[in-house]
């Protein structure tokens, strides 16, 4: 029982639902899942379990329960990857879900955009679309769910695609990854850029030698890679944090100070009294109170995100 046949027409419990095809990946927003649940629950002729809905037609389940309920519609060897906070796919009203058969970590996914019966095709189709895939949503270059990617104008389409896939696998927003890499590389996205202050930090997320070693590489080897190749190591570095990178500051903390992932914005990273050298090495104490909080540390990356989303930088 497959989700969709090769001709893009759904089968089994998906009968009546038009399924597009795409070779690209996309994160799945929680809101998107709710649309999907709604569509599936109300699909005429659909067999199998129903998603319970409230009086307003919204699923009464949320989070993991909703995901599990949706699994009831799917073949046993496939599952939904959910909880991207971005909600970017909502903009196209084209719910996606991804299927995986084996390695859920960084394996190969086959995303399948799915529209409820009778839904209008998206108004804007990108260059990657063709008449044979009327419901697939492709941006102008790369595939980030139809939304312009922050700092996308600074990188190749291949880089964009890979970032979208990594973000999907990590269940985070690709813009967050781009903003952090923009900050770490000074906006160059150079895989060979070194920290000018002598720490030896290298590349897209300024890998330290100690961070590179467990990934089976070195900062010298990383510096010789293309940006697209180095993204594989960015993905491997961030993989242990999949599902925990729910906002920009948590993505940045994964790169800067992993202990602070999931901590509140006022969490203190460095205290001038307790950790004077660490405090001095990271002069981000904006209010001068002797403590560098998670929010203060992320402030410059926030600015990079805003800048990257400007029309001239996003693509």
């Amino acid at each position: 029982m497959g989700v969709a046949g090769d001709d893009g027409v759904s089968q089994g419990p998906y009968a009546g639902l038009t399924v597009g095809s795409s070779q690209e990946t996309n994160p799945v927003a929680e809101q998107t899942l709710m649309i999907l649940a709604d569509a599936l629950a109300n699909a005429k002729g659909a067999a199998g379990p129903k998603i319970p809905l409230d009086d307003f037609g919204n699923p009464t389940l949320s989070g993991q329960a909703l995901t599990q309920a949706l699994h009831g519609f799917m073949p046993s060897d496939q599952r939904i990857v959910a909880n991207s906070p971005s909600g970017i796919l909502m903009q196209n009203n084209a719910p996606y879900f991804r299927t995986a058969t084996a390695d859920d970590g960084m394996g190969v996914y086959e995303p399948r955009p799915l529209s409820p019966p009778g839904a209008k095709p998206p108004e804007t189709l990108g260059a990657g679309d063709s008449p044979s895939t009327p419901n697939s949503i492709m941006p102008d270059s790369g595939n980030t769910g139809g939304k312009a990617l922050a700092w996308g104008a600074k990188v190749s389409p291949g880089f964009q695609n890979k970032v979208a896939k990594i973000a999907g696998d990590l269940r985070t927003d690709p813009d967050y990854l781009m903003a952090v890499m923009a900050f770490e590389t000074g906006g160059t996205f150079s895989p060979s850029i070194k920290n000018a202050k002598g720490s030896g930090a290298t590349g897209l997320i300024q890998f330290m030698q100690t961070g590179a070693k467990p990934l089976g590489t070195t900062t010298d080897a990383l510096a010789k890679m293309t940006a697209e190749e180095q993204l594989d190591y960015v993905a491997r570095y961030l993989k242990p944090h999949a599902g925990k990178l729910n906002n920009l500051s948590d993505v940045y903390m994964a790169v800067l100070y992993p202990k602070a992932i999931g901590k509140p914005d006022d969490f203190v990273l460095f205290d001038k009294t307790k950790n004077p050298i660490s405090y001095g090495q990271n002069p981000l104490d904006l209010n001068g109170d002797g403590q560098i909080t998670k929010a203060e540390a992320t402030s410059k990356v926030n600015a990079m995100l805003a800048q990257g989303r400007k029309k001239e930088n996003a693509r």
Binding site: G105, E184, N195, A196, K197, G198, S199, G200, A201, I205, Q206, F207, M208, Q209, T210, G211, K213, P214, L215, G216, R236, Y237, P240, H241, M253, A254, V255, L256, Y257, P258, K259, I261, L269, F270, N275, P276, I277, S278, G280, Q281, N282, P283, L284
Partner: protein, 189 residues
């Protein structure tokens, strides 16, 4: 029929430990890969650094001398040492007297984050009679990597100093001598 039942039960007993082992291994998958347990033969016995099964974003590690646990790091428990820089590197094993010890190991903590190019140092002093002592911590956050120099009866740890990793400013160099079991800062003239 009863025989069949017992055969099935025996089969299950053989499988269950493997299932538990697989589940335990799977639970540790959320951590960074690549760190193996390490062992150092010293005059006081074998010093081991082992990765704990306990969770935490970057894991937890225990330093032991023989069967005795000396120190556990890791962010699973904020009360543990070096909760923010839980990884342990053996910088040097001094197989010679480091006054007042017969041998000493210089350790450095680090995190996979890039806030610091290596963090705090500490020393485990060891004696032939199996006794040991853990030094106070020497705070550090590179910047350029620290350098270690030998001295007749001890060693020197030098922090090169320079601009901070982020932003502007200057961090002056520091020189520390490990003397009589503790780090002593050498005043700059």
């Amino acid at each position: 029929m009863l025989d069949s039942f017992f055969r099935s039960a025996r089969g299950a007993c053989r499988i269950i430990p493997w299932v538990i082992l697989i589940l335990v291994c799977a639970s540790a998958r959320a951590q960074y890969p690549g760190e193996k347990d390490r062992y150092v033969q010293t005059v006081a016995g074998i010093v081991s650094i082992t990765k704990s099964e306990s969770a935490g974003i970057e894991g937890a590690y225990t330093v032991s001398l023989g069967a005795k646990k000396l120190l556990t790091t890791g962010d699973a428990n904020p009360d543990k040492a070096f909760s923010d820089f839980p990884h342990i590197d053996v910088v040097r094993h001094f197989k010679r007297p480091i006054t007042p010890f017969d041998e000493a190991i210089l350790f450095q903590q680090y995190s996979y984050g890039n806030a610091c190019n290596g963090s705090s140092f500490w020393v485990l002093g060891l004696n032939k009679d199996g006794s040991y002592r853990i030094s106070k911590t020497l705070d550090f956050c590179g910047g350029p990597s620290a350098k270690v120099f030998d001295r007749k009866d001890g060693f020197v740890v030098y922090f090169p100093g320079g601009p901070p990793n982020i932003g502007k400013g200057y961090i002056p160099p520091q020189t520390w001598v490990f003397r009589n079991g503790t780090f002593v800062r050498v005043a700059r003239k």
